[in-house]
């Protein structure tokens, strides 16, 4: 809930390119740093001040014949305090939907084919669960960053597959190693997600919860490492002029690349820390 005066104040501020916390329209807050491997029983995890992400991998059978996508990222935001935090069920479903769709698509970066070890029947399924500890606005972007970090930390057991017979009698036996693990392939190519919030006639990035309430259009853009958008979804109750879209995507690109660069450094630093611990 937001009062009319507060709304007017924020919209006027955005128009004047001055936001409540002193930022300009396209300034982001300093990004939160992550701690990798915080949950020992998970296959991979990342923790920041606002989020906790756990990744579990499991073996599953693919039932439909001729399937290509063999990974089913089940992103669920379990939110025990969601009422208190002011996040609606709807937006949580929306975010889960977007994340799993993006990670399962060709543009998602992950090498899904490598997760399938018996062709067309058996594969690894990666389950990602996000727990929101504090809500500071711009949840989808920070959530996806944390998921990205957790996937970079994920190790899956090595599987050896033996093939016997041929033709129709062809059968596979596989053995999951106890100790040996390998990293997920293609984690580096997972895009960054930037959401632009249109407030009045302008758009901002990284809004606070109050600013979010004033925005009628949200444009979520995934930016690949090459700086190209690879998914664009519009949310919110307003409509947008096609000419404004170009500006929004251009800003998303700038911010997305910066965020990817920062993530690289962060993951590198954490990996170094973890290897020093061993």
């Amino acid at each position: 809930m937001i009062s009319v005066c507060e709304r007017d104040y924020i919209i006027g501020g955005v128009q004047a390119n001055a936001r409540g916390d002193g930022r300009r329209r396209t300034d982001a807050r300093p990004l939160l740093s992550f701690e990798l491997g915080a949950v020992p029983q998970a296959s991979g995890s990342a923790k920041s001040a606002a989020l906790l992400v756990g990744v579990k991998v499991a073996i599953a059978e693919v039932s439909h014949v001729g399937a290509q996508a063999d990974d089913d990222d089940d992103v669920e935001t379990m939110n025990t305090r969601s009422k208190h935090l002011g996040i609606s069920e709807d937006s949580i479903r929306k975010y889960s939907d977007f994340c799993s769709k993006l990670l399962n698509s060709d543009a998602g970066g992950l090498d899904l084919a490598s997760l399938c070890f018996v062709p067309n029947t058996t594969c690894w399924v990666i389950h990602v669960d996000v727990l929101v500890l504090a809500y500071t606005g711009n949840l989808l972007d920070t959530m996806f960053q944390a998921i990205r970090a957790a996937l970079a930390n994920t190790l899956i057991p090595k599987v050896s597959v033996e093939e016997s017979g041929s033709g129709l009698a062809r059968s596979f036996e596989f053995d999951v190693a106890d100790e040996e693990t390998e990293e997920l392939k293609g984690v580096n190519d997972i895009p960054a997600v930037v959401t632009l919030y249109k407030i009045g006639n302008y758009h901002v990035i990284d809004p606070t919860p109050l600013e979010e309430l004033c925005s009628d259009v949200q444009l979520t853009v995934a930016i690949s490492r090459k700086g190209l958008p690879c998914a664009i979804h519009k949310y919110g109750s307003g409509s947008v002029d096609p000419s404004l879209l170009a500006d929004m995507i251009q800003d998303a690109k700038k911010h997305g690349l910066a965020s990817l660069e920062w993530m690289d450094r962060e993951i590198q630093r954490e990996k170094l820390r973890l290897s020093n611990l061993e």
Binding site: R93, V240, P242
Partner: protein, 293 residues
């Protein structure tokens, strides 16, 4: 997933009957991909013939039926009806809409289980986003409009069976948007403008690596993943209010190129929607108004 125990479940797995498979396997036509044209001989910016009518469901406040290619969609709108006082969360904001998109179990070659799939949820959500900007909900406080969509047929019976049932869902969104908006108009609900949906496939030329687009792709063009000498890399669904020229819904996925290409694709969809609106939707609206007199 929990199943409804009162319903006969039907088999867990289903298979495409052999005769259909045999008939459809030779369809990926290497000849048509060599020539520059599309599989069905349309131009790149040409939309398929579209049939739209209203007043199909008599009990509903408004209803519409849209058929394009193999996709058949029925939409019924109920309301605006009052929301019980106990369920009104805040008294300041206007009314609300609820969208429910269901795929019939018999909509495609493979049978779908009765329970709602995640894909249907995302279809409902995207439809909700695309319709909201067109409605003047501030004029309808404490009331609700229910929009129910049943997809009778999701693909052409003669086309290639898709890998998964859900793969062609992006194709279903555009007709759903058009049908829902038409039904809302038929229910005489105040709107800024009717919303028209259009999809666009993005293809990459394997030799030059250049991207190009095709408006209103058929499921065949996406399933074979090749068209007009290109490889399918992404798709885009746009909902537009044609008279105002504003974009209400936008879903783009896949390798969609740089900003310039994205804007070009959106603009092409906006133009295609204006065409559909001018030729088909307006006519259906006039017919609906005349029938009411």
């Amino acid at each position: 997933m929990a199943l409804d125990s009162k319903r006969i479940k039907g088999p867990e797995k289903s298979f495409v009957p052999l005769p259909l498979l045999v008939q459809s396997t030779p369809t990926p036509t290497p000849t048509s991909t060599k020539t520059k044209g599309r599989i069905d001989g349309r131009g790149t910016d040409e939309v398929r013939p579209l049939f739209a009518t209203t007043r199909l469901v008599r009990q509903a406040s408004g209803s519409a039926f849209v058929e394009v290619g193999g996709v058949k969609v029925v939409c019924a709108v109920y309301g605006p009806k009052p929301v019980p006082a106990s369920k009104v969360q805040d008294h300041h904001s206007g009314g609300r809409i609820s969208c429910d998109v269901r795929l019939s179990p018999f909509a495609a070659l493979k049978r779908k289980q009765f329970m709602k799939e995640p894909a249907e949820h995302s279809l409902s959500n995207n439809l909700h986003t695309a319709l909201l900007p067109s409605l003047l909900l501030a004029h309808l406080p404490k009331s609700q409009i229910d929009i129910h969509i049943q997809i009778l047929q999701a693909q052409n019976p003669t086309s290639i069976p898709p890998n998964a049932f859900v793969s062609s869902l992006s194709l279903l969104l555009a007709p759903c948007i058009t049908a829902a908006s038409l039904a809302l108009a038929d229910a005489q609900i105040e709107m800024m403008d009717s919303v028209v949906g259009c999809n666009l496939g993005i293809y990459r030329n394997p030799s030059t690596q250049k991207l190009f687009w095709m408006v209103d792709c058929t499921e065949e063009e996406i399933e074979t993943r090749s068209n007009g000498g290109g490889v399918w890399v992404g798709n885009c669904v746009v909902g537009v209010m044609p008279s105002i020229g504003k974009v209400t819904g936008l879903v783009m996925d896949g390798d969609i190129g740089d900003v310039g290409f994205v804007m070009e694709a959106v603009q092409v969809c906006v133009d295609a929607c204006a065409k559909i609106h001018e030729v088909v939707v307006k006519k259906a609206l006039i017919e609906s108004a005349q029938a009411k007199e």
